[in-house]
Subunit: 155 residues, 2 copies
């Protein structure tokens, strides 16, 4: 599999290690390094292989390197980047910054997002997921009120 699909919850051991779900590892193509950034609008972390870094650097390359936007974005892409080594058993150690940002203590939710995956504190993820559902339901009601079609779309 080349993409990150499905989700899983794993435990953090005494040494602070967590197994990356086995279903995600093929998408990392055997690399032993994980690149991760703290999401700017959620208590989550977005992680993936080196492509994650390359993608962001391409974006930077397309920006005016003297603009304040470049400055801010580069800080997040380079300075705020978390680099994690994957051990022989497919585990990583979460940095203090990650634990602080996500609220993770002894359990981690891994959520596939296609070309990257997210790391959440399980309860917060659950809350976010329900919020997302509620939002979608609300949007659908608004749409149906507007055009009179309202019937379910099957999904």
């Amino acid at each position: 599999m080349e993409r990150f699909l499905s989700s899983a919850i794993n435990k953090v051991d005494k040494k602070g290690r967590v197994s990356i779900p086995a279903v995600f590892r093929p998408a990392l193509k055997g690399g032993s390094t994980l690149y991760a950034t703290l999401s700017v609008d959620q208590p989550a972390v977005e992680a993936g292989g080196p492509e994650l870094l390359e993608v962001n650097e391409k974006r930077l390359a397309a920006m005016d390197s003297f603009s304040p936007e470049y400055e801010y974005f580069s800080l997040l892409v380079h300075g705020d980047m978390n680099i994690m080594n994957i051990d022989g058993e497919g585990r990583v150690i979460l940095s203090d910054a990650i634990r602080e940002h996500t609220g993770i203590t002894n359990q981690v939710a891994f959520v596939g997002r296609g070309h990257f995956f997210q790391i959440w504190e399980p309860e917060r993820f659950q809350a976010y997921r329900e919020e997302a559902r509620a939002k979608v339901a609300e949007m659908r009601r608004a749409l149906s009120a507007g055009n009179g079609q309202g019937k379910d779309t099957g999904t």
Copy 2:
């Protein structure tokens, strides 16, 4: 690693020495000299190997050589350059000028910026980091409002 990525906080000892984070040393390619300039618009220092000189000279070359900006920047790049020796344990001593400009007392934040890295007083860095996160979140919202796409950071 050829680039400076991630960040770390290290202590200053009684003699004024600080360890350069081990993850940055490969990017210095074993050189024992650190070149550093005081950042113009932040209470930070920008440091790196000899290439940093070249980079700054390229920047100069891109500027109008009769402009006052050129004059000042040239002075900063050449005259205000701090040269630091890296000792056997990978430590450097911060000059008075650097301590004054950054406000550093007994802790130093090292922040990767790609082809160079920054040195900050940790609390000031934290404030700047949050500012950057807020600004990037704002940029992203502006973008999504414009094209209707979400906050997907992956691609």
